[in-house]
């Protein structure tokens, strides 16, 4: 009898669960004027100075601002500062602060906050937090001072040596100087304010009603974290996500009835990076041969439906005036020439090497597969080895222990930043590229205050990289964004951001 009553109880419970299930499938009522944005990476820190991943920075862009911030054309426009000036010798930057900027906790931004924030990013605070990402480029700063005159506060940044590009790094977020909970409840000055964060699940922010500039149109933004692009795609199909920025071309084709597909370019230099110090890539001829053997057009067609932008050197197309278009055609696809060069270098029958690819980047893995097939045609065997991101960082990036890898390099809005990977002897030069010519030109370009001259020098630097075949610079991949048909105003930027302040719901 007892057994039977237990069975009956179980039966009842299952009915309860199943009926609960029916209720649950009803769609949750969505807050009016809100949007759900899908992201595929969990956030690595909520403190903007500690965030490392591009996937985190693109979210935090909505909460924080620097003295200046990038606009959609790649210009730096005043934000917390009202205006700025760079002295003619390129050694002094002065910023006049806005008077009406308030942090999300209600406090007014003071000179003290600005000094604290800048010094924290530059590693100039007396007690430093080792988790803070110190911006290496800011080490040219000798001191930062504040002065007030007629009620207007001016921040003056003095440099040890001339550098007119530093403005691109002064986008560093302004945060309150006396606030301890930045890591868990971030406070900034951006158009949205932080509401909540649940690890592995979501980050919620709401409109900042006190914002000094053009206020956001949406009331609430939820960044919903998915396990992978595939998992996010399932949510897209069920319309649980309104905006999703990392579609593949196959996925985009399946969504067209419910979503508008916006197409832009990623702010990345995607390349097959070759370790210039290991055999056989220590030979320039071999590197050139690999360059001739890679068919970039085919990569674009196979992976992006022909979209995206081919590159030929270390700067991506989003840099506009600083992008050297000529390098794109330094090596056009020519397998015969590749074979010739290989024979000349002493490898008439080709060779085999291992290309390590971080397994979490499906796109780079797919690129590797296409390239492996292309290299096979000239007798080169490329073995693909998938590794964890943590291993990539320690083995490839820190220890320079690899033969070849496929990765995308991103950057601040300064040409010196995207080209820093090739400076001789630098720890960041993971491909071990060495060229005195490049180093000289790079140094001169950073120092010059003459814009035309600067441009010319950077063009030259890129040409050196291309001529030496430092690596195979492939493309800035296309970025396909699904935006639900209910919204308009999605904006692309030449850096990694998801700006939700421009998005709105048009009246019907």
């Amino acid at each position: 009898m007892k057994k039977i009553s237990i069975l009956a109880l179980l039966g009842l419970l299952s009915v309860a669960v199943l009926s609960g299930c029916k209720d649950g499938t009803k769609k949750k009522e969505k807050l009016e004027g809100s949007v759900v944005v899908g992201i595929t990476q969990d956030l690595d820190s909520l403190d903007p100075h500690k965030a490392v991943a591009a996937g985190t920075k693109e979210v935090l862009y909505n909460l924080f601002e620097g003295l200046v911030k990038p606009d959609q054309d790649g210009n730096l426009v005043p934000a917390v500062a009202e205006s700025y000036q760079i002295s003619e010798d390129g050694k002094t930057y002065s910023f006049v602060l806005r008077k009406d900027v308030k942090f999300h906790n209600g406090k007014t931004v003071t000179a003290e906050d600005v000094l604290y924030s800048l010094k924290r990013c530059a590693g100039m605070l007396e007690t430093s937090d080792p988790e803070v990402q110190v911006v290496a480029a800011l080490s040219v700063i000798s001191d930062i001072t504040a002065s007030t005159e007629n009620g207007a506060t001016t921040i003056q940044v003095n440099l040890k040596e001339a550098n007119t590009e530093l403005i691109g790094y002064l986008t560093c977020s302004i945060i309150p100087c006396d606030y301890a909970d930045q890591k868990t409840k971030p406070v900034g000055t951006g158009p949205f304010r932080f509401v909540s964060y649940t690890p592995m699940s979501s980050l919620v922010m709401e409109k900042n009603e006190e914002y000094y500039g053009k206020k956001a149109s949406l009331k609430q933004v939820t960044f919903s974290i998915s396990e992978s692009t595939d998992a996010a795609f399932l949510k897209l199909q069920a319309q649980e996500i309104d905006v999703f920025p990392y579609l593949t071309s196959d996925q985009a084709a399946q969504l067209q009835d419910k979503y508008n597909i916006e197409v832009g370019e990623m702010s990345l230099v995607q390349g097959l990076f070759l370790n210039n110090k290991v055999k056989p890539f220590d030979s320039k001829e071999v590197r050139q041969a690999v360059n001739y053997a890679v068919n970039k057009d085919e990569i674009l067609t196979m992976l992006n439906d022909g979209k995206g932008k081919k590159i030929g050197s270390g700067v991506y197309a989003g840099f506009g005036a600083y992008f050297n278009e000529n390098c794109v055609n330094t090596y056009s696809y020519d397998p015969e020439k590749a074979k010739e060069l290989l024979a000349k270098a002493g490898y008439p029958n080709g060779f085999a090497f291992t290309c390590v690819v971080p397994s979490n980047y499906t796109y780079h893995v797919q690129t590797a597969e296409v390239i492996a097939a292309q290299l096979k045609k000239v007798g080169i065997t490329m073995n693909i080895q998938l590794i964890e991101w943590a291993s990539w960082l320690s083995d490839v990036y820190a220890a320079h222990d690899f033969e070849a890898t496929i990765i995308g390099l991103d950057s601040q809005l300064a040409p010196s930043d995207i080209l820093k990977y090739y400076i001789g002897g630098s720890k960041k030069n993971f491909i071990n590229y060495e060229s005195e010519d490049f180093d000289t030109v790079y140094k001169a370009a950073v120092a010059t205050t003459d814009t035309a001259k600067k441009k010319e020098l950077y063009m030259k630097a890129q040409q050196y990289l291309a001529d030496d075949a430092a690596s195979v610079f492939i493309q800035s991949p296309s970025l396909m964004v699904a935006v639900s048909k209910a919204y308009t105003g999605y904006t692309f930027y030449p850096i990694y951001v998801q700006d939700m302040s421009t998005l709105y719901i048009p009246e019907r």
Partner: protein
């Protein structure tokens, strides 16, 4: 005396487990400080962070420090999320426990009626179909069953939205109704195994002498089955269910991954990838304790019944 001995051996097992996990992380490539700071860090910054995280101390010193903390309930900070490990753990645990509870419930609901029916009418068409279905379900790996359920019940019949998991603290009803489907993916193969187990135990009992005695007393087939066969067949089945229970309470890593559930299993996977050492260590300890303690409890239960 016996209980003390048992407790000590459990403790020893847990100690060995924690030491081995520590050792595994020592051998694993990838450095926690490098992973945290990413591509823009200078060697000096990495060194400073390593120092702060205590990674520069000798292996045994670090193990001792961790053990000391763990004994007082302090599992350190997650370096990925910048919050205490215990807080993260407690945030994820209810989701895993709900999933485990629901799965176990489903196993019982499915396995007992079907198992009894098969035991009642062995060799009938129903029994043979049951056995065939059982074999099939047992052969399907749970991740594949998970994908199958997502595609058919989720995308096809639109009974739920795959991936749109709602954590328990944002709505228990919605959470449970979502968890029903992953629970199904966990329960079906395990229920199939239980049915097989129960059925063969019942058939084994049926051949024994006392059954004939019971029948000769004039008891009906069902009465014989429920009153005499089932209690005897139960001992072995309970042991088996215990193993299953410890498996699912420890977190179904694969199913949590497939269905995007924020539970222990998924946290474990992402923490290993991020070299979030303190979290991994605490989770492995939890899983170890669950398995060891549950197995111990069931062992003693079955022994008592046998006495």
């Amino acid at each position: 005396m016996k209980a003390v001995k048992k407790g000590l051996s459990m403790l020893a097992a847990i100690l060995v487990l924690s030491f081995v996990t520590f050792l595994a992380f020592e051998i694993l490539p990838g450095d926690a400080a490098v992973t945290k700071l990413g591509t823009n860090a200078t060697p000096e910054q990495i060194e400073a962070l390593r120092e702060e995280m205590g990674l520069n101390d000798p292996f045994l010193v670090r193990y001792g420090r961790w053990m000391g903390g763990a004994c007082t309930g302090d599992f350190g900070m997650s370096n990925r999320y910048g919050r205490p490990v215990s807080e993260l753990f407690l945030q994820m645990l209810p989701n895993t426990l709900l999933l485990a509870g629901l799965s176990f419930l489903l196993i019982l609901i499915i396995a007992f009626p079907v198992g009894l029916l098969c035991g009642r009418y062995p060799g009938s068409i129903g029994d043979r179909t049951g056995v065939f279905l059982n074999q099939t379900l047992m052969a399907i790996p749970s991740f594949f069953l998970g994908i199958l359920i997502s595609v058919v019940l989720g995308l096809g019949l639109k009974l739920f939205t795959p991936g749109a998991f709602v954590p328990y603290d944002q709505g228990l009803g919605a959470c449970l109704s979502y968890l029903f489907f992953p629970a199904l993916a966990i329960a079906l193969p395990k229920a199939a195994m239980t049915i097989r187990f129960l059925r063969s135990a019942l058939l084994g009992e049926r051949r024994k002498e006392y059954v004939r005695t019971a029948r000769s007393k004039g008891l009906g087939e069902w009465e014989v089955l429920v009153k005499h066969l089932l209690p005897n067949a139960l001992a072995a089945t309970v042991t088996f269910l215990g193993v299953i229970l410890s498996e699912i309470v420890a977190g179904s890593i694969v199913i949590e991954q497939v269905f995007g559930i924020n539970g222990i299993g998924r946290l474990l996977v992402s923490s290993v990838a991020n070299r979030d050492f303190n979290v991994v260590q605490a989770l492995v300890l939890y899983i170890g304790i669950v398995v060891i303690v549950l197995n111990g409890v069931i062992e003693s239960l079955v022994q008592k019944e046998g006495e």
